[in-house]
């Protein structure tokens, strides 16, 4: 079968641009996803991530740029001929068809013989652990089950690419976590090149081989989850993923930065030069009674998170630091917090 040859294909997006009237949805986005890779496109609503997905799926034609799957240019190919599996945000199951007929649909469209359809539908239902649900209607299933059907329908025809458009949004937290792991397991097992869209940074960190952070129709940074989290390229990425303390200042010496409040801190990895920088320190890197880079202030808010305590410490007028650690400090108490020189990530350039 032709689909088999190009399975595990890579996806390349080259300079794709799309505008709606005066609004630029995509400003020349380039991206490549390796065969079998799980790439997450992470961004707030309006960042252009959904438009990018639609361009890849073929539901939107880009004003400029090309989309290539497995070396074949599919920019002008109709969605029906792209052989891409997609799971929609609301699953988009056909409400008038049973589970089995929903899953059989893409096979029927490919004129697969009846006996083989039957076999593959049963196989796909087993893959998502829905044996025995074939005759039910989507409306008779729970949210999690509906999502499994959508997933089975999206992979049953051996697509070259799997697209997931915020598929976990409608599920409650516990179900969401188990579905995430299930999707990941399935994706690994089938070796499917996968593009996953979400605005949930936690989800992105858990699932992805790599994450592309989008904002304003452009990719701000693309990299492994720990790259994105520990070494964000700019303020937007730093603040969108996880919680962060951003300290603004001026380089004074190869290892010293004078913050705008007047405090001087020691930092590794400045790499010389002059000019203004921002220092990102994650709340969990902030320590109470740190030996270096100390700030003294008052706890304005103390939140118990179960596995940790989160403190908001006011160290100067209008400057608050987030601290995450194991020590409980009541609100109102006076504390000294700080960070080690190697725990600050330097972001250069104007804010």
């Amino acid at each position: 079968m032709a689909a088999q040859e190009v399975k595990d294909a890579d996806l390349r997006v080259d300079g794709v641009a799309k505008r709606y009237g005066a609004v630029v949805a995509l400003g020349g986005v380039s991206l490549s996803v390796a065969a079998g890779e799980f790439l997450t496109i992470l961004g707030p609503s309006g960042s252009g991530k959904t438009t990018l997905l639609k361009v890849v799926a073929g539901f939107e034609f880009p004003d400029a740029g090309r989309v290539t799957v497995g070396g074949a240019d599919i920019t002008d190919v109709s969605p029906a001929k792209r052989n891409i599996g997609m799971v929609f945000q609301n699953y988009a199951l056909f409400p008038h068809m049973s589970v089995a007929r929903n899953i059989a649909f893409p096979l029927q469209m490919r004129s697969v013989p009846k006996s083989e359809i039957e076999r593959r539908v049963i196989q796909a239902m087993a893959l998502v652990e829905l044996q025995g649900y074939g005759e039910r209607l989507p409306s008779q299933l729970s949210g999690g089950q509906q999502q499994r059907v959508a997933l089975a329908r999206a992979v049953v025809f051996d697509p070259t690419l799997l697209l997931l458009d915020e598929p976990f949004g409608a599920l409650d937290r516990k179900l969401r976590e188990s579905m995430q792991l299930e999707v990941r397991r399935l994706q690994r097992r089938l070796g499917l090149t996968t593009v996953f869209i979400t605005h949930d940074q936690e989800e992105a960190l858990v699932l992805s081989d790599r994450i592309a952070v989008m904002d304003g129709g452009a990719i701000r940074q693309i990299g492994a989850p720990d790259d994105i989290y520990d070494r964000p390229a700019d303020d937007f990425v730093a603040q969108f993923i996880g919680e962060s303390n951003l300290l603004v200042g001026e380089i004074a010496a190869p290892d010293r930065v004078v913050l705008d409040g007047g405090t001087s801190v020691t930092v590794r990895g400045l790499g010389g030069g002059h000019g203004r920088v921002r220092l990102l320190v994650r709340p969990e890197k902030m320590a109470i009674d740190s030996a270096t880079n100390r700030f003294t202030g008052t706890v304005v808010e103390a939140v118990y998170l179960g596995e940790a305590h989160k403190l908001r410490v006011k160290v100067a007028e209008g400057v608050e630091l987030l601290v995450r650690g194991h020590r409980a400090v009541p609100a109102g108490a006076s504390v000294t917090v700080g960070f080690a020189p190697e725990d600050a990530h330097v972001i250069r350039g104007a804010a």
């Binding site: 799926a57 056909f94 008038h96």
Partner: protein, 256 residues
């Protein structure tokens, strides 16, 4: 409710009472055994069926295009569909007489374009009645279908296309079955309304197309046979209710 009872139910019951006033069912017997009257009833159903099919064939595409276009065009479409509602049915029917006559706008235009040599017989026959009735009843088909198409999640169509269905197959397998409830509503409305049509066949049929309602009018106005008119009315009412029940039954048991 009381008003409805007073203005609708009471006269209806009186009419039905008239049909059996003489204490016998002779009027019913006459209506249901005389071949002439049976033919009129059959003609009425035939015309209603043709009108229903024509409104469906014309109305579904219009409703579909309206429902799937942008908000602005949708409002324009609805305005055009509803516009005739603001005009009296009598005025519209007279307008068709002007349009369809031997020397009417349609024939003159077609001859002017050289499409035809001699005028088409469009008035005082079945064609005229069908044109007039379809025009009057089209909104009753378009609006429910429009509503049904609008209620189909556009993502379902995208999903079908993404799963390998060309547009027409996505339409046949997803949009069409999901809009059958609208089609059933439109068919029920148009068919049952058609059964009781009077003005249009009277004016555009030129006496050559007789539907049950025309027969009733003739009995009352010309022959003053109230009992027989009442019987015909009762028969029409029962048949209309039966049609209504039959169509909604078929619509409900349609295979999924």
């Amino acid at each position: 409710m009381l008003l409805l009872l007073a203005l609708f139910a009471v006269p209806l019951l009186r009419l039905l009472a008239l049909s059996v006033e003489s204490g016998s069912l002779i009027a019913y017997e006459r209506a249901l055994t005389n071949e002439l009257y049976l033919r009129v009833i059959f003609e009425t159903f035939k015309i209603a069926a043709i009108v229903t099919l024509l409104t469906l064939a014309l109305g579904y595409p219009v409703a579909y295009v309206m429902a799937t276009s942008g908000r602005g065009w949708q409002l324009v479409g609805i305005a055009f569909v509803l516009l005739p509602f603001w005009t009296s049915i009598l005025v519209r029917t007279y307008a068709w007489m002007v349009m369809l006559g031997r020397n009417g706008v349609v024939n003159r235009t077609l001859i002017g374009w050289g499409v035809i040599d001699s005028p088409l017989p469009l008035l005082n026959n079945l064609a005229g009645v069908l044109i007039g009735m379809v025009h009057v009843l089209l909104p009753y088909m378009i609006l429910p279908v429009f509503n049904a198409v609008k209620n189909v999640d556009p993502n379902l169509v995208l999903a079908a296309e993404g799963l390998g269905a060309p547009r027409w197959r996505a339409f046949l397998r997803v949009t069409l079955p999901l809009t059958m409830n609208g089609v059933a509503a439109g068919v029920t409305l148009v068919f049952t309304l058609s059964l009781g049509f009077f003005i249009t066949p009277a004016l555009l049929g030129g006496g050559r197309v007789v539907m049950v309602a025309n027969l009733i009018e003739e009995q009352v106005r010309e022959l003053l046979n109230w009992a027989f008119a009442g019987a015909l009315s009762a028969i029409l009412l029962v048949l209309t209710l039966a049609a209504f029940w039959g169509i909604s039954r078929i619509a409900r048991t349609r295979p999924v």
